[in-house]
Symmetry: C2
Subunit: 338 residues, 2 copies
DNA sequence: AACGTTTCCGGTAACGTTTCCGGAAAGAAT
DNA sequence: ATTCTTTCCGGAAACGTTACCGGAAACGTT
């Protein structure tokens, strides 16, 4: 069942059928009705690859993701998928191992599938303009490190919170509550990722308040999984390093870290205050409710897609959104008696 | 940059280039090397839509999902996506509203995209053979109700736990601990979904032990979100209905329900035991650790894809996997003092 | 009556592949 | 020397669509 069959059945030319299928002008109302009826009764469905071939572009968006551990990304991915779907585009998803080159992967995907746009989610992003020029469609970096070096800002878009500032504020909350021995948990501290920015924010907040950064209190978890948070907290406790508060860079890890504290017979927040970043709906329902910096994850995901669509359909230049993270005052932080 | 350019550059015919690109025989080693080199230096990337058009099939799998609320599905979706990706196929994702027809959506997708297979995730499934005949590629129903009525079992595959049995066992655990006033929380009880099967399992376990089903203790949450669990538990408590235990059909809702109990100054498990179904990694890290029936979600997702691939590539008949759910003995259930 | 204009439509090339088929060249068997 | 295989290769049709172009018919306008 092709466009040709419909044309024959209606006694019209195939270009006429094509016109009504694409809502183009130059076709009488009478013929349009007839064609539409034939399409309906025959259950005709256009062949997308033929269309893509002649137009030499598809209606697909490529999404390349690195680091699937973090639930925050899972949530965003769901919104991104739904949002792309809702706008009538297809999503081609590509998961990358940590050692793969996301730009090269994106460029290949773009050409193979004749993508309309690309969305990068998570991961590092220290590419040069030369490398980025490999990709020839609009793209947005979603929840990436926000230091894009020498890249021309009008060439692409990005959406993410200010990770430095958010970490700075979170740590400041602990300091304001009287804490100075503040442990901190990051995926990694020197990999050009958002984790590094958050680490910088942590250090800055301490320094600003005259507190030295104690390397013994900085833990690299090596991931965003709950296990990573649990294990890291456990081993910090066992190391004997004294601390009265902890800053954890992701809710999921914080929940696991709290479990580790409980398992070591430490109360939260009485024996150790905990603050995190993410603001998952989930962490509202733990006991105590997690005190955390809420990232507007849904907004970030939705806006990323919207901006990408605007670049594709309206040809606008790149925009760089920095939505605010704001404090959720849960029950996992308390003032330290001085 | 097309196959034609490569052919010209190498001084060979385009069919020869096509042959080396597809690892077909009938090409000398010398020519193969030359072509491969030209492909490499020119960064040639084949056009997928052209290929799909002539072969009249793509390398894509359609995944249609209904009910995105449940985290359990999110987790599975991630595995499914990674698994499809890993095997070199593309995934076309379609989210459906609860009132949409998943089979019709799948059939359209299949023809538009020339899919190789279809995977249905979650939702109801009371279709007739006539309706199912709309879809012309292998398909597997993943985590669906396992009552497929009149459908011929060899025509399709399915993978999911036995929801009736799992619910039966969970409720039996509570009864064995001495409980008889057992509240229960389901998305819905009469919609041909897994929820209905679980409700049936709940009733059967009670009856088996001579306990009458008290409608006042059966709550329809109208969803799988945490809010649904919280709200439902709250209103049950406020209704004044007496109960010493609760069976909740999903971990996420159970966590929220426990929060509601806490907020009403009831201790878990001392004042109310809670058991659930899902076994999310997450619910190991709550306090108390959730007692729940662990669904092998990763296995379900992985096996679903594997089976679908076997049907596609090896032409095997439909298989129906019923992996076992097994109890995780957490800390949210305790014996009732008699 | 002759001449624009507008409205509608069909023929056809093109998109970049794969696949079929025929054939040249080289080697083996008679 | 002839014929028969085998190995390798190129030409060309086909996949189903879109877009361009040219033209017929209908309708004004002078």
């Amino acid at each position: 069942m092709t466009i040709k069959d419909i044309a024959r059945e209606c006694g019209v030319g195939i270009s006429t059928v094509s016109r009504v299928l694409n809502n183009k002008p130059d076709v009488s109302e009478e013929v349009r009705k007839k064609v539409l009826a034939a399409v309906e009764t025959n259950g005709y469905i256009p062949n997308n690859s033929a269309r893509d071939l002649v137009k030499s572009r598809s209606d697909a968006i490529g999404v390349v993701v690195r680091g699937t551990g973090n639930l925050f990304f899972s949530d965003m991915l769901k919104v991104i998928a739904a949002e792309i779907d809702r706008r009538g585009y297809d999503m081609i998803l590509r998961f990358l191992a940590t050692d793969e080159d996301e730009v090269k992967a994106g460029a290949i995907l773009e050409r193979e599938k004749k993508l309309r746009g690309l969305l990068f989610l998570g991961g590092r992003f220290n590419y040069t303009p030369a490398e980025m020029s490999l990709i020839g469609v609009p793209y947005v970096c979603c929840s990436y490190t926000n230091s894009f070096g020498t890249l021309r800002e009008s060439d692409f878009s990005s959406v993410s919170i200010d990770d430095f500032k958010t970490a700075y504020e979170a740590v400041s909350v602990l300091i304001a509550a009287g804490h100075s021995r503040i442990a901190a948990f990051f995926d990694a501290c020197d990999d050009h990722s958002i984790s590094e920015l958050r680490y910088d924010g942590y250090c800055a907040a301490l320094k600003k308040n005259g507190i030295p950064v104690d390397p013994a209190l900085v833990v690299q978890t090596g991931g965003f999984e709950m296990e990573d948070g649990y294990r890291s907290m456990k081993s910090l406790i066992e190391s004997g390093a004294g601390f009265t508060a902890a800053f954890v860079e992701a809710d999921m890890m914080a929940i696991a870290a709290i479990k580790a504290l409980h398992d070591c017979h430490k109360r939260v927040p009485e024996d150790c205050s905990v603050i995190a970043i993410d603001g998952l709906k989930l962490s509202e329902y733990t006991s105590p409710t997690l005190t955390t910096m809420i990232q507007p994850g849904e907004e970030i995901a939705r806006e990323s897609v919207r901006i990408l669509m605007d670049m594709i359909e309206k040809g606008i230049e790149g925009v760089h959104l920095r939505p605010e993270a704001h404090l959720r005052n849960g029950g996992s932080v308390c003032s330290r008696q001085l």
